[in-house]
Amino acid sequence: MLSISNLSVSVGDKPILKGLSLDVPSGEVHAVMGPNGAGKSTLGYTLAGRPGYEVTGGTAAMLGEDLLALEPEERAARGLFLSFQYPLEIPGVPALTFLRTALNAQRRARGEAEATAPEFLKLVRAKAAELRIDMEMLKRPLNVGFSGGEKKRMEVLQMAVLAPRLLILDETDSGLDIDALKIVADGVNALRSPDRAMVVITHYQRLLDYIRPDRVHVLAGGRIAASGGPELALELEAGGYDRYGAAA
């Protein structure tokens, strides 16, 4: 699904990623862990195409297609979804409007028929119920005045409605209490499937108790410093990141 080779990225003039390589096959969930400032969020933003994240070397491909040559919206239409660590507030735009505009923009880009209003509402109602999101909340401007937990649930709702193929979760557990964390994790787990892949970016092991990864990678010094099975996360929890050297 996702294949990154020797990727180097600078923000401003500062090199952040320095030759990062990572392969995430379809059907798998990979955790990327690392100390603060290691470049975890940079990885997510670069894959999603955020302006200002300059690729200075290497490649990143999704299902064999060069991601780096595409506009952010083209990556989205091909099924890449980035769940933001800090979801943006969109004043004056009801969450439902935002979500339907996004869904239909993606469908148009893929040459598919747009969702009619009843189809769309049926879809959203079902997914919102699973995430215990009140439909009334979806009539309010997206994320404006929402709590941290509500914002994260909105991210997972968008994920569920847009049904992406490659999911990148950036610190999805930050700001969540344990109940909210369980709801969000259930939502994410419901999306696991043989033709999807997930990259779960996190600082703490806690999230991985709920979203069980197939592989765990340590991001330090701008590259993958170690890889292993789920047990690696537990070792990190016990031993910390010190043995992988200072952050970039």
Binding site: E71, P72, E73, F81, P87, L88, G92, V93, R100, A105
Partner: protein, 489 residues
């Protein structure tokens, strides 16, 4: 929700200014230039009574003694007032009585613009869609007014201004110029001398006008100014909602539009006046052409507990100079001003309102949303004043400006004068740049940069869009998207 989707679709489908076509129709013009003879020519063409001609001539004399105002933050080459036609009318038999007598080219024009001139077209629309009556003004004359019989049953008078002068002289004489005196300002004086047509509305006491009224202004002829005059009177306890729309062909030379609108609300009456202005804005690169929109709009809340609400969506024109205002005379009267002004390309807008609190316990509310893109300039200019008798006057003003790109400008110029110690005035203002983070967030979810901009801007102006009648809100939302085309990238 559907409307936003439409916005997005429209952005894709439409070229920059879709109303830029010209209608080929035989027209009759006044000779080029302006002197007393021109004023007499127009008055004679309309078959006006002597009092109306005298009124025009007095205004013309005042105009000759006045100078064009220069205080607004706009920079333009003044119109050559001696190079314009002041009257242009499609050649038809004297006053077409039915649609069948109207030139088919003109009917086709309104069809292209999506304005229903046949009553059955409105009725044949979506089930449950509210009806609205239309007065269609083509250059200098009203070509047709719909739903007149139905309105007449309710006692509502809705007709062209020329007809009102002939049929309802007592009302016209009583109210014309009573809100905007002929000598109010340079453009109002000019309008008073040479106005050619417009709409007239009278709603009798206690009547709630049974449908939306609207006037659609179209400038077609070359080198012609449009000077329309609108007069709306809501008698005691009456209610009326009125909407005006405007478009013009794309032309290389600037065209002048100098209108005067007077609203009068008596005791317990309410007038809701909405404008969707989409005059040709000129070439976005060179700034060549476009309409000079120099308009005087004022409401007189004469009666106790009367209310006037102005809502404007200003997206077109090369230069806009416009301050729809309220004179709050009646005790407990209320004035509202909701505005969206969008400038792109080389457009310049200097617009806002005046809320003049004269009576006790008067209240006003101003919500202004300015969006500047391209190399445009957008100024909010507003006055809130409380006179010594305006005990307990209250105002709330909120002015938000949104900047798109790095070459545009936004200015806020609020004047506040309180001459009564009990007045409470609040003013909030913000200026923000369209957020790169929000744009990226929306693009990550699949929206193109243009779609994302349209969505974010529609969110920014939503509070004001909600004030528009439903069916026009959808149109306005599309217009917001279209007028921002080419602002990203």
């Amino acid at each position: 929700m559907a409307a936003t989707q439409k916005t997005v679709d429209t952005v894709k489908e439409l070229e920059r200014y879709k109303h830029g076509f010209t209608t080929q129709v035989e027209q009759e013009f006044s000779p080029v230039g302006l002197d007393e003879g021109t004023v007499r020519f127009i008055s004679a063409k309309k078959g006006e009574p002597e009092w109306m001609l005298e009124w025009r001539l007095a205004a013309f004399q005042r105009w000759l003694a006045m100078d064009e105002p220069t205080w607004a933050k706009v920079d333009y080459v003044p119109a050559d007032y001696q190079a314009l036609h002041y009257y242009a009318a499609p050649k038809t038999r004297e006053g077409p009585k039915s649609l069948d007598e109207v030139d088919p080219e003109i009917l086709e024009t309104y069809k292209k613009l999506g304005i229903p001139l046949r009553e059955q077209e409105v009725l044949a629309g979506v089930q449950g869609a509210p009806k609205y009556a239309v007065d269609a003004v083509f250059d200098s004359v009203s070509v047709v007014t719909t739903f007149r019989e139905e309105l007449a049953k309710a006692g509502v008078i809705f007709c062209s201004f020329s007809e009102a002068v002939r049929e309802h002289p007592e009302l016209v004489r009583k109210y014309l110029g009573s809100v905007v005196p002929v000598s109010d300002n340079y453009f109002a004086a000019l309008n008073s001398a040479v106005f050619s047509d417009g709409s007239f509305v009278y709603v009798p006491p206690g009547v709630r006008c049974p449908m939306e009224l609207s006037t659609y202004f179209r400038i077609n002829a070359e080198n012609t100014g449009q000077f329309e005059r609108t007069l709306i009177i809501a008698d005691k306890g009456a209610y009326v909602s009125y909407l005006e729309g405007c478009t013009a062909p794309m032309r290389d030379e600037n065209q002048l539009h100098a209108a005067v609108v007077e609203l009068i609300a008596l005791d317990d009456a309410e007038i809701k006046y909405s404008t969707v202005q989409n005059w040709y804005p000129g070439d976005p690169e060179t700034g060549k052409g476009g309409i000079y929109n120099f308009v005087t709009k004022r409401a007189d809340c004469r009666g106790d507990r009367s209310k006037v609400s102005w809502t404007q969506v200003e997206t077109g024109s090369a230069v806009t100079w416009k301050y729809p205002s309220c004179l709050l005379k009646g005790e407990g009267s209320v004035g509202e001003f909701y505005s969206i002004a969008i400038t792109n390309g080389r457009q310049q807008a200097d617009t806002g309102t005046k809320m003049v609190h004269l009576g006790a316990n008067t209240r006003s509310r101003i919500i202004s949303k300015g969006v500047s893109a391209g190399r445009s300039s957008n100024t909010y200019r507003g006055l809130v004043s409380a006179h010594p008798k305006a005990t307990g006057a209250r105002n709330f003003t909120q002015c938000d400006s949104l900047l798109i790109g790095k070459s545009c400008a936004a200015h806020t110029v609020p004047y506040v004068e309180a001459r009564n110690g009990s007045a409470q005035f609040e003013h909030e203002a913000t200026t923000t740049r369209l957020s790169e983070d929000q744009l990226f967030y929306a693009r990550q979810r699949g929206l193109s940069a243009e779609e994302a901009t349209a969505l974010l801007v529609n969110g920014f102006v939503r509070e004001v869009l909600q004030e528009l009648p439903m069916e026009f809100a959808v149109e306005a939302q599309k217009l917001v998207a279209i007028s921002l085309e080419g602002s990203v990238g």
